[in-house]
């Protein structure tokens, strides 16, 4: 298989398999979590907890003033990820083709800046994971795997854009394949938090609210 055939596969069947696994897998996860229900409230229920739950979804996005270096790196990575994924013009074309919605793209130099920033932030968080004893103990192999599959699309994308590596067509194919790997791993690792963070935050907020604790 040459690089053109690889690219054609990545843009065709590969993408289809990745979407099917991701969509089915994430739906499965959400249904599984929701069907677990919540434990019986032993204390008197103070409120429905809905507003507290919704509040918590937003509130947990505000950084807490602890370990600011690590938190800054995490924020830079997440913001960079969203910008690169949703505002790089070729990516906007992908979403427009899929959903028929176009929200405008940003110039390449801005995307390039955030890509480098995100790569640096990811490297920093990985080093911290190795240096900090508590984090090192808590990090399992699957967490490193999650880091790798998130890191690969950044690196391959950067290399493809800057014509680094052996061949642009091959790099583009590898970039798309790395994204497909990320899509496949999304429901199988802690990366599921990309979707379930809403559920978990709502759950925490509403549980507190029902018990009369201010979220």
């Amino acid at each position: 298989m040459n690089e053109v055939e690889l690219l054609n596969w990545a843009r065709g069947p590969g993408l289809a398999y990745a979407i099917i696994i991701m969509v089915a897998g994430l739906t499965l996860r959400v249904f599984e979590i929701v069907s677990l229900g919540r434990p019986k409230e032993l204390a008197k229920v103070r409120s429905s907890g809905t507003s507290d739950g919704l509040m918590m979804i937003a509130k947990r996005s505000i950084p807490e003033p602890r370990n600011w270096r690590y938190i800054t790196a995490s924020y830079i990575f997440h913001i960079g990820l969203l910008i690169v994924v949703f505002f790089f013009i070729p990516h906007t074309q992908f979403f427009r083709d899929l959903f028929g919605v176009f929200w405008g793209g940003w110039p390449n130099y801005i995307i390039d800046f955030f890509t480098v920033l995100s790569i640096a932030a990811m490297m920093y968080t990985l080093i911290q994971r190795r240096i900090d004893p508590a984090r090192r103990i808590l990090t399992k192999a699957s967490d490193y795997l999650a880091w790798v599959v998130t890191f690969l699309p950044f690196v391959t994308g950067y290399m493809a854009f800057h014509r680094l590596g052996p061949d642009y067509t091959l790099m583009l194919a590898l970039h798309i394949l790395s994204v497909e790997l990320l899509m496949v791993m999304l429901p199988m690792t802690k990366l599921t938090h990309a979707v379930t963070f809403i559920l978990s935050r709502y759950y925490t907020g509403s549980s507190m609210g029902r018990r009369g604790i201010k979220a």
């Binding site: 053109v4 843009r11 969509v23 929701v34 427009r96 014509r163 642009y168």
Partner: protein, 368 residues
């Protein structure tokens, strides 16, 4: 001219050019252009001129298989009366369906004679793919394409696969490939093969490569067998619209403001980033223009399997699939498995609760 005559002729390109009223200066200019196009050192132009002017007519056999004659159309339209055409006058084209005067038995006889007369010295040019599924799908004078290729290639000095069909299978190979079309290089393994892909290839690239073969031998080739000099860089990297890509300025259609301002055609499907060819530098019709310059995106015609790379009018970064046909099924399947898994978990939980044996104080070693 019969092959016997061509083999005996002592007419060189030099005398041929003088006879046609071409000055040495013009000839040197052509050699310089070819040399610079192929990124050869400046001294190569003189060496090329010297070698070419002394060279005798090179026998060429041109075989056409599953093709549309577009490659021949392209090469014949390149000149008249440019120097490229003289190069081709200089080449003894001993067999070519479209261009030769002879037909039927006489034509096939000319090919056989040329093969005999120039054994081991002739260049074989092929356009069109070869049907591997069934030899009967394409025959010439009752001879299958495969048989004719193997027979002529056997005594050729080198093979030039002209056009994407001969180089990679091209349109006949496009999914579902009904004839089992294959490239020349899939059949012939023991001869040097130069691929000049394109649908059709650029005329000056064909003549330039031929000039290189005559003077310096086989040029440096890339992993797809293409001369690096012409196929070393992508259309995108050489495109004059590239700055618009970097700035994020794109035509959204073929008649909008962006199109009128000459912005990048990536969003309307240009495959320039993954296409390696010389269109953006040598251009077409004597350097007049090339597809992107005339407002249409590159379709990637010099790449293998470009017909199967999805729509010509969809951006390269889009998928070539239609998820609306099956995405809902994936969603429903995921939901169904999720519900089943939830129910299983609940059953497990209540089972565990039923089995639960309360721990008493005695169990823990206490007294009643």
């Amino acid at each position: 001219m019969t092959p016997e005559e061509s083999s005996e002729t002592t007419e060189t390109l030099g005398t041929n050019l003088i006879g046609n009223g071409v000055s040495r200066r013009t000839f040197l200019k052509f050699c310089s252009t070819v040399a610079s196009a192929m990124a050869l050192p400046p001294t190569a132009a003189t060496a090329m001129a010297e070698t070419l002017s002394k060279a005798t007519r090179q026998s060429v056999i041109w075989l056409s298989f599953q093709e549309c004659t577009g490659c021949t159309e392209s090469i014949t339209r390149s000149h008249k009366p440019t120097l490229e055409s003289l190069i081709f006058d200089f080449v003894s084209l001993d067999y070519h369906h479209t261009l030769q005067a002879a037909s039927g038995d006489a034509a096939e006889h000319a090919r056989e004679e040329a093969q005999k007369a120039h054994k081991g010295k002739y260049i074989l040019i092929v356009d069109g793919s070869i049907p591997a599924e069934n030899n009967g799908y394409s025959t010439i004078a009752g001879i299958s394409n495969r048989q004719m290729l193997e027979d002529v290639a056997k005594d050729a000095m080198a093979i030039v696969s002209v056009g994407t069909c001969a180089a990679y299978g091209g349109l006949p190979k496009a999914d579902p490939n009904p004839t089992g079309a294959v490239a020349v290089s899939d059949i012939i393994k023991d001869k040097p093969i130069i691929n000049i892909p394109g649908c059709p290839p650029i005329p000056v690239v064909m003549t330039g490569v031929l000039a290189h073969v005559l003077t310096f031998g086989i040029p440096e080739l890339d992993k797809h067998g293409r001369p690096v000099a012409f196929f070393g860089e992508s259309i995108h990297d050489r495109c004059y619209r590239r700055p618009f890509y970097d700035k994020g300025l794109f035509a959204k259609g073929f008649d909008d403001e962006g199109a009128r301002k000459g912005w990048c055609l990536f969003e309307v499907g240009c495959k320039g980033p993954t296409t390696f060819n010389a269109c953006a530098t040598t251009k077409w019709n004597n350097g007049t223009s090339f597809p992107i310059q005339s407002g249409h995106g590159c379709i990637g015609c010099s790449e293998p399997d470009f017909w199967d790379a999805g729509s010509f009018y969809k951006a390269l970064s889009t998928g070539s699939i239609n998820p609306s046909e099956w995405a809902t099924d994936a969603l429903v399947a995921g939901a169904a498995i999720g519900v089943a898994s939830g129910l299983l978990n609940r059953a497990g939980k209540s089972k565990a609760q039923d089995k639960h044996d309360p721990v008493t104080l005695e169990d823990m070693g206490g007294k009643k």
